[in-house]
């Protein structure tokens, strides 16, 4: 993407192209991830997509977006290692379909949502109800519940234990003045990235953004990747009234995403538990029918790999031991054919990045966070150059860090 420095710590990334039928505009506010503040951020994100001072009712918001042919808007908050991000995403059809200039309106709409949020006791109370409901519903999903409990129990002093979506017991304590102060900080003090993909004229877009947004220079230093360190015992088991038990196993990778060997780690994770021919899928599900779903995934910015599966409680300890054994076997002998499958899988992902606007924008975000300038082609070259010895080297770093079981209540009693 093209990079345009609008102000200090305010950057615009653009990808002018006629290939897509819509214009994708993403606004990101980035700031350090902190406990309690994350709940404020989550509430504010909620309010940003609800109503603005320009469109102070939901009906007015609907009307504005429908006049832009159903412009989509979503706000979310997420963590990237030690940093938290509020992201507003919008998509609007290309004005050429309807012979209307829609982009300027799209930019203005997003600016209204981000900068002119309707912040009142009413909108805050509604955001609190909505956030509370969302967090409660998350607790109803056993895998999400297990992951959250595991992160907080195993890594309580680490950023990974701070939920970017906030905490139930913090919601009521957040005041309107806190929300306003945090919003002012976002506008004046956070790192801002604006990304735009679609059919537009570069110079007039820059002018339009400067007219719609109030961007200033700001000083902010952000950290992203780190190595999560376990706190407390190696194993923990809790009980809930569920019909299946969930196993969450954290593995420390000790490999930063900026390191050259990280590509080998990505391939190793793919081989271990990401694709249908992976070790976990074949050994745990296909050969032994122990589960429907099992996977491993990299938490790249936290220096961890995590294995998750849900099984009958009678099989959870067997599954736990099996996963341990499979990792040890993987360390002793990594299969070249499986490596080739993993390579093909990852290569396709990079080959198709340019086919989707959000993929283009998210790939740029990854480079921004890591201070890299690697193109998708660079990544593909790294993948192709990776041999079985590189995989063996990477997986020697893998060490089991923390084991968590969310078990069915009846059996545990």
């Amino acid at each position: 993407m093209n990079k345009i420095q609008l102000n200090q710590n305010v950057v615009l990334f653009t990808e002018p192209t006629t290939r897509f039928k819509e214009t994708t505009l993403v606004l990101r506010y980035m700031f350090p991830l902190k406990a309690k503040e994350s709940t404020v951020a989550a509430l504010l994100a909620n309010m940003m997509q609800d109503r603005s001072e320009v469109y102070p009712t939901k009906q007015a918001m609907d009307y504005a977006s429908d006049m832009l042919y159903g412009l989509t808007l979503s706000a979310r908050t997420t963590s990237i290692g030690k940093t938290q991000m509020i992201e507003l995403r919008s998509r609007c059809i290309n004005g050429g379909y309807v012979q209307e200039a829609l982009l300027e309106q799209q930019i203005q709409f997003l600016s209204d949502c981000g900068e002119r949020v309707l912040m009142s006791e009413d909108t805050l109370n509604e955001a609190k109800k909505t956030l509370r409901s969302a967090l409660l519903r998350d607790r109803e999903k056993p895998v999400r519940l297990a992951l959250k409990q595991a992160m907080q129990a195993g890594y309580s002093t680490q950023p990974i234990a701070i939920s970017a979506n906030g905490e139930l017991d913090e919601i009521d304590q957040v005041s309107l003045s806190q929300i306003k102060a945090f919003h002012a900080f976002l506008l004046d003090g956070s790192r801002i990235e604006v990304s735009l993909v679609g059919d537009f004229d570069q110079s007039s877009v820059v002018d339009s953004l400067k007219r719609s947004f109030h961007f200033y220079d700001r000083e902010i230093l952000l950290d992203f990747a780190y190595q999560a360190e376990k706190s407390g015992p190696r194993d923990l088991s809790v009980q809930e009234n569920l019909s299946q038990s969930t196993l969450v196993k954290f593995i420390s990778t000790s490999i930063a995403p900026t390191k050259k060997i990280f590509t080998a780690l990505r391939l190793a994770n793919c081989m271990f538990g990401e694709i249908p021919s992976s070790i976990l899928f074949q050994e745990v599900r296909e050969k032994r029918s122990l589960c429907y779903s099992i996977f491993s995934t990299l938490l790249s910015y936290d220096g961890l790999m995590v294995v998750v599966t849900s099984v009958d409680d009678a099989n959870i300890e067997l599954t736990d031991t099996l996963v341990d054994d499979l990792l040890q076997q993987f360390k002793q002998s990594a299969d070249a054919d499986l490596l080739q499958s993993a390579k093909e899988t990852l290569l396709v992902r990079y080959q198709t990045i340019d086919d989707d606007a959000y993929s283009i924008i998210d790939y740029q975000l990854r480079n921004n966070c890591l201070g890299l300038t690697e193109t998708p082609q660079d990544m593909m070259d790294q993948i192709n150059a990776c041999g079985i010895e590189d995989i063996r080297q990477a997986i020697q770093y893998l060490q089991f860090s923390f084991n968590f079981m969310l078990r069915t209540k009846e059996i545990a009693e």
Binding site: E22, Q59, E126, K129, P276, S293, Q340, E344, Q351
Partner: protein, 422 residues
Amino acid sequence: MNLIKNNYGELIYESTLDNGMNVYIVHKPEFVSSYAMIATPFGAFDLEQVDASGVHYHFQPGSAHFLEHKLFEDENRDVLSMFADMGASANAGTSYESTSYYFSHSGSIEKPLSLLLDFVQSLSISDASVEKEKGIIIQELSMYDQMPDFRLYMETLKSIYHNHPLKYDIGGSAQSVRDTTREELECAYSLNYHPANMILVVVTQEDPAAVLSFIEQNQLSKTFPADPKIKRVLQDEPATVVRKDYTFTMRAETEKYFIGYKLPAYTGDDLERLRIESMLFFILESNFSTLNPQYQDWLDQGIISDYFSYEINYGKDQAMLLFANEGNNSDALAQLIESILAHPVVDEDKLEQLKRRYMGSTIRMFTNYDRYAQQLIQSRFKGTQLFELIEGIHSIRIEELEEAKKEFVLTNRTITKVKISN
């Protein structure tokens, strides 16, 4: 090969092969991503079928889903791994009305497309492999069963339907899975996976004529038995609901409920039925979404929560209207719903607003290959063509909305609730 006319600049070609398979090829010359989906109209609804000779066949609930699992099995190794070896990402899904198999990829489409056609068009299973799969499927059912949203939805369908297959989980039950036999799966396969019964959609950068030729060659190399011309047997379903009120308890964080109304089914023209379904949805949007200024009042007063939603399902042999909400005020909400639907507001401005929204959604669909392929296939299975349906929805007039209001016959109601048992 025919180019389908449309107002969106989409290059989409349609062809029917000699063996009866319908093929759509969507040409995306500027994109390296490729995608293919092949589907059969055999889904969870198909518990009873009849062939051209009048012979009836009965299947266990969950058979279509079980068969989907088994089709991925090859004598030597599993098919998903074979796709992964090519760098293609494959999956499948069973709905009430169909089963689909698909992959996404980049680069030359021939190998993964060949694999897709080959594995879907042959079934090779053993008693042992069927038994092994039962454990996996039962784990899958358990996984969904412990989610309150899912359980509540399924219990609501059980509250509504006496006989219709909607009362069963798409995957069946642990018992029906255990009772499924290899012979039953093979029978279901031979009846429902004939090419004449199936639709293939390919989205590709490659020359459509070359891709079609490749598909034709692949098909010519195979022989198929005669098309059994299998049809779904529609169940007689009384107008009444099974349970007017039902409450169950399970582990949940909030109380939730569904208010369901069993509506009279529409047995007329397929395109018109789908248009009416859209009209009913427009009426619901106008009255129960943020388009209605009262929505904010309902939220503020706690009558609805952010969980509030609605759904209209207007099938050939059944129809239902569902409202979901969190809390314990189902009676009050039911009263509100019924008072509104006694005289729902429809107006020209809102109709135009919703049509603009729909236009944007339609255009966005053309870059979401999965949704695009599903819409092409489902509209065909439902008896129409996608662009015909799109234009049909755009042509909706206010007078038609006024007429469609009468479809909201709310005499058969059920309220199903989940309470917390933590």
